[in-house]
Amino acid sequence: MKLYEYQAKTVFSEHKIQVPNSRLIPKGEVNADLLSVGYPCVIKAQVLSGGRGKRGLIQLVKNQENALFQIQRLFELEPSMKYLLVEEAIRIDKEIYVSITVDAPSGKAVLIASESGGVEIETLAVEHPERIMMEPIDLRYGLMPHQARHIAYQMNLSGNQIKQMIQILMNLYDIFIKYDAELVEINPLFATKEDTLIAGDGKIMIDDNSVFRQPRFAQTETDYSSEAAYEASLEGIPFIQFNGDIGLMCAGAGLTTTVYDLIHYEGGTVANYLEFGGPNYRKAVKAMEICLKVPSKVILIVTFGTIARADVMAEGIVEAIKKLNPDRPIVTCIRGTNEAHAVELLKEAGLTPLFDTEEAVRTAVRLAKGENR
């Protein structure tokens, strides 16, 4: 789960990492309060997708008239956005990159830092890897102060800033642990003309498997793009909505992704990705209810389960059809444990069960185009 910039910065300031003076502007509550950070200031869209600067979602403004114009424009540009962050403009000397993330092969965390932060950091990593420092962190001992010092002394900072940097790195690691993060990142970290270090941006990603023990950032309905997305999240059902024709109701992340690929190879488009395998395989009724809330022309069900038994899923699908009386065709390809019984159940319910994934995909694509099976 990704936190918004304003949430990450709240966490930063609680851990004594300096952030710019700011105001959070909720949608529809624009007032003169934002003047209190002064001008010039920076208006930043609070959305989770990256590349905000390149998409014009971060604006430097010099006066109130301009500020009000940009605030209105940004809320119109991102209709589902709830907040804008207004921050004082910082006089920057240079931009630094620091983050802590996971190194899967070693099972360690890794502190990553570069004197050349900013938007081009990924390119820098490929073209000039020598300008990026990496320090492995053994989770049993945590980040040692000598490691933080070693990084800080290589950054060409003033004596004062070096002290701040060491503290920032130590605190960043505390945040990484406290919030079960897969990533904490400050990019850019401003070295200012006033000899301070200030977090210009903030990214915290909480591990999805640990969200249960991170109640502080529990999400509410308004955090989701649609009712379907919110309902899916309450059930713990992975769900993504797109704009295409075929609603996917599949079991297993790998299989669902493969079916997604196959639909595109066959010239079809996907209305939604929904994965009801694993612990959710008894939730076919709920899964179909969610799929029916998404505009689509056909629902494609593909499973090949083991623990997620075919007969149990078929039973759920038959029950869902009886209860919800779907207004669109349903294509099924259900295999795995007790599949023979599953086929019987589906046939009794008047469906034509298919057995081959590619055939099922082609059938769904044809139906979505208004052709016959």
Partner: protein, 296 residues
């Protein structure tokens, strides 16, 4: 002969009295797996499918020779169960739980490296050698999915594995040993670590890997082929080619892997290493043929 487990491997089942544990213990035994003991705290003295149950791995290992242990334990309890097994000196562990917290997986992985142990999973179906033995939950009785043969399979996925193995069988091949390393971002054991076992296994003619976007496990396999530590034919199936570009790991993920991790990069380096890469499950069999792998 098979890799990782065979009919002689003495297997313990941690969490044996639970519903999943007892259900799959029965299927493991039906296939031929030598399940010698089980562990559930508080249930010592009971039996499951004729297998004696102990309070702890320490108690069990006093009475039985244990080569490997299978964990049917919920995600929140997995780290403790893995460490219990490692503390008892067991070097082959399979954990299937889906939802193990990331930082706990990091600790498990780091400890596994230190102990030079294979800790397979989580978020996996486990390990199977058809007609021999299994640790995990595979529908081994469905012949068109788990037919015995000479193709080694390694996978990051569950349901997709059934789909791909069914296609391998449809093409006239079968499976020698299958290792599910699991779908978590930090798996306890990685693809490349099993290549030496497949390399020296006379029953394995070729290896199929079922990968996906993210991480660097497929790249590590390619490296092993390039430096000739693995020389058998290899076919990879990679899902997620048309997936909308996610930014799951933000900048740090991209930096740490130096541009690796995308499906495109994986295809390039695998092909450079001499592997064939399939874009759909059905092509896997055809590519094995193209590499001159004899049908089973």
């Amino acid at each position: 002969m098979s890799i990782f487990i065979d009919r002689q491997t003495c297997v313990c089942v941690q969490g044996i009295t639970g519903s999943e544990g007892s259900f799959w213990t029965k299927h493991m035994i039906d296939l031929g797996t030598k399940v010698v003991c089980g562990v559930t705290p508080g249930k010592e003295g009971q039996t499951v499918e004729g297998v004696p149950v102990y309070h702890s791995v320490r108690n069990a290992i006093r009475q039985h020779n244990i080569d490997a242990t299978m964990l049917f334990v919920p995600p929140k309890l997995t780290k403790d169960a893995v460490f219990e097994a490692l503390d008892a000196g067991i070097k082959k562990i399979v954990m299937i739980a889906d939802g193990i917290p990331l930082h706990e997986m990091m600790l498990i992985r780091a400890r596994a490296l230190e102990e030079k142990a294979f800790v397979v999973g989580g978020n996996t179906s486990g390990v199977i050698s058809p007609k021999e033995a299994m640790m995990g939950s595979f529908p081994h009785w469905i012949e068109r999915v788990y037919k015995k043969g000479s193709i080694g399979v390694m996978t990051r996925s569950g349901s997709l594995t059934n789909e791909v193995t069914a296609m391998i069988v449809e093409a006239g091949y079968g499976v020698s040993s299958l290792i599910g390393v699991g779908g978590d971002p930090v798996p306890g054991a990685r693809f490349a670590e099993f290549l030496p076992l497949y390399q020296s296994d006379p029953e394995t003619q070729a290896v199929v890997i079922i990968g996906e976007l993210g991480g660097t496990m497929e790249e590590e396999v390619a490296e092993a082929m390039i430096n000739q530590t693995f020389t058998k034919p290899l076919v990879a199936f990679l899902g997620g080619r048309t997936a909308p570009k996610g930014q799951k790991m933000g900048h740090a993920g991209a930096i740490i892997t130096g541009g690796k991790g995308s499906v495109q990069h994986k295809i390039e380096i695998l092909e450079k290493a001499g592997a064939k890469v399939a874009d759909r499950p059905r092509k896997v069999g055809k590519l094995l043929e193209e590499l001159g792998v004899k049908k089973d």
